[in-house]
């Protein structure tokens, strides 16, 4: 039995929440007056034939041969109601939900829901212990050795992570206008995801991909008490979240040693937040809205003081003296919002807002003193930031159903970061809407963002400061770099008749990083979309089409020493120091068509849906020298950059046997073809220029293409 099926059969636990839900509901329901109740039972035998990547086909699904089932029960009286819904019973996507209550007095809900995330099945590693926190291999060290040229002898495992959410909530409105809302949710995540590390001395040595165990539990408790009676609203809330990882570290036998080394994993943490929200309606049709919150995230982690390193075919141990063997992390956020809205005149409405957000890092500063003499100590840099945002907008109603809304927003961000510590955004916008004709609404908008940033020379935590001094003056990291950005939007909604609706949209965004020499310099996006739906008698048709083109221009420098860092003064050809650039282009489009025909009203219906998604990415490189042997500037380009196309077809015939019984016969076809320069012709191991550093991979994201045919039928009995 495969691990997947084994797990499914272990999911008998799923019955526990279901049983609990029914156990709670049945007695409650029995007290209610018997006015109306009902439900449905649906069974759906399914046959699925999938060739290629079953993992990608079922990335967030669980479609395979089997019998799918769904159950719904409901009961309502003048006051009491409840609803129970179970879907995909026993499958990896199963969900069970109950909600009910007494109208206007209380509501409750319980749920259990699973979300799979399948990445790659049958990944391979020469390590044993995939899925655990201890990976090992037997025999000699792997330096200069490929463990086996036959990867079929390697151990296989699946990259997949399953989320299991369960929880409950209760809302009380017994003391209106006071209310109380309490909810609890637990999320368990289990599975394996890919991890990677460099076991060697420098980044230039080798890469090692490992299966990382995922065994997380997150508990969330939220409580809110509020007062809500027009024109006043106020609430206070408390959120507590606890994240626990069963594995603090992933231990693996080093490739050049019989000893284990450690790869650190996501740390346990606690998070809590207090918040207040309030609103009041004021004279002149205005409102005042307030929001304040403070949160704390904490962790405590034992630290390693050394790691294994390679020096050719042997290992060395790099050790540090730490100022503290435990890292206590603490991040505090503070947030205030004030929004004032007003509608003082019938043709005028406006909004003014201010937001303050601060992330304070109160974590430990751990000083690392390398045991090897002669190297300066260094410590972690504590990042935090503060953001002030203010602005406003005015909506002006003009004659002929024309509305104009100019707006302005200013954002000042101060970061505890060396290169771009302060940036200021000025965002000017104007939006127009015209609805002068009953069948036509036109919207247009323009937004201009101007970002200025104060650049400073970066001081390194550790490393060669001279290199930083040489290269950093040319680098502006795009997340905070000076920027001019223009965005245009236009949309039309047309409904010439009651049974026809057409939507058209266009967006253009151009970002120019004005001070950047090295890094991302230009980013441009064009989006065009159209959708339509049409009903004529027994036929309903709908369709959509969307096209997007993005272009990025990036300029970089390859160099080996600080003296050769300057990209503007390079006149020496053939010295191995050179500039290079990429023009990256991605063209994506998707379209879909659907039709529903009532062949025999209230008896036979046919539904058909076809969707197509296509993306084509290219990288156009220009290298100003040192073009690799056997290549030219025309052939170094990457033609397949996350290229894919997907065709999906679904046909369904629905037959209403009688008032209570509906059957469906269906067929679905899906074909996904993926090609990418980084994954095509995949190899599980390969060497750098010499065999002294072999890279070992596991096949994560390899061979994602698939083709699937699915036949299904459903029988739904409603009562």
């Amino acid at each position: 039995m495969s691990r997947k099926n084994q797990r499914r059969w272990e999911m008998k636990k799923a019955y526990i929440p279901v049983t609990a839900m029914l156990a709670v509901l049945l007695p409650l329901a029995s007290y209610a007056d018997d006015k109306s109740a009902g439900g449905s039972i649906e069974v759906a035998p399914t046959l699925a034939d999938v060739s290629g990547s079953k993992a990608k086909f079922n990335e967030y699904r669980d479609i395979e041969d089997g019998l799918y089932g769904a159950v719904r029960l409901w009961k309502e009286t003048d006051t009491f109601f409840f609803n129970f819904q179970a879907d995909d019973i026993l499958y990896d996507t199963q969900s069970y939900r109950v909600h009910g209550g007494d109208y206007g007095r209380y509501k409750f809900n319980l749920f259990y829901d699973e979300i799979p995330h399948n990445l790659t099945y049958d990944a391979k590693t020469f390590y044993s212990g995939a899925g655990t926190a201890n990976l090992t291999y037997s025999g000699a060290n792997l330096v200069n050795v490929v463990p086996s040229t036959d990867t079929s002898t390697w151990n296989t495992f699946d990259y997949e992570v399953d989320r299991k959410n369960q929880g409950a909530g209760l809302r009380l409105d017994l003391l209106k206008p006071l209310y109380m809302d309490v909810s609890f949710k637990q999320e368990k995540r289990e599975g394996i995801k890919p991890a990677g590390l460099a076991p060697g001395t420098t980044g230039g040595s080798s890469a090692l991909e490992l299966p990382e165990p995922v065994d997380y539990v997150t508990d969330n408790l939220k409580a809110e008490i509020g007062y809500s009676l027009d024109p006043i609203f106020a609430s206070v809330s408390y959120l507590y979240s606890k994240f626990e990882n069963d594995n603090d570290n992933l231990f693996f036998r080093h490739t050049v040693s019989a000893n284990s080394d450690a790869f650190t994993l996501a740390p346990d943490n606690d998070y809590y937040k207090f918040a207040f929200k309030g609103g009041a309606k004021l004279p002149m049709s205005s409102t005042l809205n307030l929001n304040a919150g403070r949160s704390v995230a904490e962790t405590s982690v034992g630290l390693f003081s050394s790691f294994l390193d390679t020096n050719g075919a042997t290992t060395t141990t790099t050790s540090y003296v730490l100022s503290d063997s435990v890292f206590d992390g603490k991040v505090v956020t503070t947030n205030y919002d004030v929004i004032l809205t007003g509608n003082p005149l019938s043709f005028l409405h406006g909004k003014l807002f201010y937001k303050f957000y601060e992330k304070e890092n109160k974590s430990d500063e751990i000083t690392h003193t390398r045991v090897l003499a002669g190297l300066d100590p260094f410590h972690n840099h504590l990042f935090g930031y503060e953001k002030d945002t203010y602005g406003g907008e005015i909506g002006i109603k003009l004659p002929a159903n024309f509305t104009l809304t100019p707006s302005y927003k200013h954002v000042k961000t101060e970061r505890h970061r060396g290169d771009l510590p302060v940036s200021k955004d000025d965002i000017y916008g104007i939006a127009a809407r015209w609805s002068g004709l009953d069948f036509l609404t036109v919207r247009a908008g323009y937004e201009r963002l101007e970002r200025s940033s104060d650049w400073q020379q970066l001081t390194l935590v550790t490393g060669t400061q001279a290199t930083a001094n040489a290269i950093e003056p040319f680098i502006r990291r795009f997340d905070a770099a000076p920027l001019d950005q223009d965005t245009y939007k236009l949309s039309l909604d047309i409904s010439p008749t009651d049974n026809l609706g057409i939507g058209l949209g266009y967006q253009h965004k151009k970002s120019e990083y004005t001070d950047t020499i090295l890094g991302l310099r230009d980013d441009e996006t064009d989006i065009f979309d159209v959708s339509a739906d049409y009903t004529l008698g027994k036929v309903t048709l709908a369709g959509y089409f969307s096209y997007e083109k993005t272009d990025q221009f990036q300029f970089q420098r390859r160099f080996t020493s600080a003296a050769a860092a300057n990209p503007l003064t390079d006149t020496t050809v053939g010295d191995g120091h050179y500039n290079w650039q990429i023009n990256e282009e991605n063209i994506s489009y998707d379209y879909g068509l659907s039709a529903e025909v009532a062949l025999v009203p209230d008896k036979w219906r046919i539904k058909a849906q076809f969707d197509h998604v296509n993306s084509n990415g290219t990288l156009d490189f220009t290298l100003y020298e040192s073009i690799p042997t056997d290549f030219t500037n025309d052939t170094v380009d990457q033609a397949n950059w996350d290229d894919y196309r997907k065709d999906s077809l679904q046909l369904k015939a629905i037959y209403d046997i009688n008032k209570n019984l509906v059957s469906t016969f269906g067929y679905a076809y899906e074909k996904y073809k993926y090609s990418d320069a980084a994954l095509d012709n995949y190899r599980y191991f390969f060497s750098n220029t010499s065999l002294t550093a072999t890279n070992y991979l596991t096949g994560a994201y390899k061979d994602q293409s698939y083709e699937a045919n699915v036949f299904f039928a459903t029988m739904k009995y409603s009562f």
């Binding site: 019998l67 990677g196 997150t218 027009d230 430990d364 998707d590 998604v613």
Partner: protein, 307 residues
């Protein structure tokens, strides 16, 4: 083989058992179920608006208005409409050509729902600024959850068409699969978050589901700590992990340095070549620098996010 068949039979048996159990539960619950009736539609309306009254009778509002004059509760007095002029202008109509402004239509809904905490910040909403009203998304005649006009994602896509396209892409949150909905992250009724997100910051929102990224870490990657959206997109991407761009280009947008961070990773580094570049193939930069969201690893290995 025999074992597998047995397993499958057991699976079917469990499903059938659950269904039978559910049916049994219903018997306990309801006895003989009474047919659902809508008491809200007065006869004069149904005479002309048979489809509208039928849909209303199956709606949540009809249940809420049992015993009352359902139509008039939302559409106002009908005397003039019945006796003089049977146009949309003589009642409170929610049609496009009904002659009522968004404010008037919203006010009609807020008569009952104005004290709901769910709409407490409607005035701050971008939807409100865009001239929308409650009936842009909801209808009193709906039997869908929240009285929506369409299933939620389809409803949102009808205006946010580019988001549908993004959700269709190869890397996406499971919106299409029905496991994540727009309202899990956004509050269409307004609030304080940018893009009407249900949090004070983007990271706070993302950490609700991705608590493993919350840290706090000893070695931090500043853009990660500031805003997940610097590298990721929320709805869907052509690039794995919902990245805005694929590595190594994304990483090199910020990282240029001696040796490998500044090198061009071209077709000369693909798997097809004798010595592929590990910075180019497979998960590119993540092949070594896996812990880009933060690390507590030792010394420079943690600092460089490789442990």
């Amino acid at each position: 083989m025999q074992h597998a068949i047995l397993q499958r039979l057991r699976k079917y048996a469990r499903t059938v058992a659950l269904c039978v159990g559910a049916a049994g539960a219903l018997v306990v619950l309801g006895g003989t179920p009474a047919p659902a009736t809508g008491a809200g539609a007065p006869v004069p309306c149904a005479d002309c608006h048979d489809q509208a009254t039928a849909s209303f009778n199956s709606s949540y509002h009809a249940k809420a208005w049992k015993g009352a004059n359902g139509c008039q509760s939302c559409h106002g007095p009908t005397d003039q409409h019945l006796n003089k002029e049977q146009s949309k202008q003589t009642i409170i109509s929610f049609s496009k050509d009904g002659g009522r402004s968004a404010k008037e239509r919203a006010a009609q809904c807020l008569t009952c729902h104005g004290s709901s905490n769910h709409v407490a910040f409607w005035e701050t909403s971008k939807h409100k600024s865009a001239g929308m009203a409650c009936d842009s998304c909801h209808t009193g005649h709906s039997n869908l959850p929240k009285n929506l006009k369409k299933p939620q994602s389809e409803l949102c896509y009808s205006c946010h068409k580019d988001i549908r396209s993004q959700a269709n892409r190869q890397s996406h949150h499971p919106i299409r699969e029905g496991k994540v909905s727009c309202s899990d992250c956004h509050d269409p009724h307004g609030g304080f978050g940018n893009k009407m997100i249900k949090a004070d910051s983007v990271n706070e929102l993302c950490f609700k589901c991705h608590a493993d990224k919350r840290g706090p870490y000893m070695w931090e990657h500043p853009p990660v700590e500031e805003n997940c959206m610097i590298c990721h997109t929320a709805h869907g991407s052509n690039h794995t992990k919902l990245l805005t761009r694929k590595g190594p280009n994304l990483c090199q947008s910020c990282h240029d340095w001696t040796q490998h961070p500044g090198g061009p990773y071209t077709a000369a580094g693909n798997f097809t070549e004798p010595t592929p570049a590990k910075q180019m193939i497979a998960r590119n930069c993540l092949n070594c620098h896996n812990n880009v969201h933060g690390s507590n690893g030792p010394g420079v290995r943690g600092l460089r996010f490789v442990r």
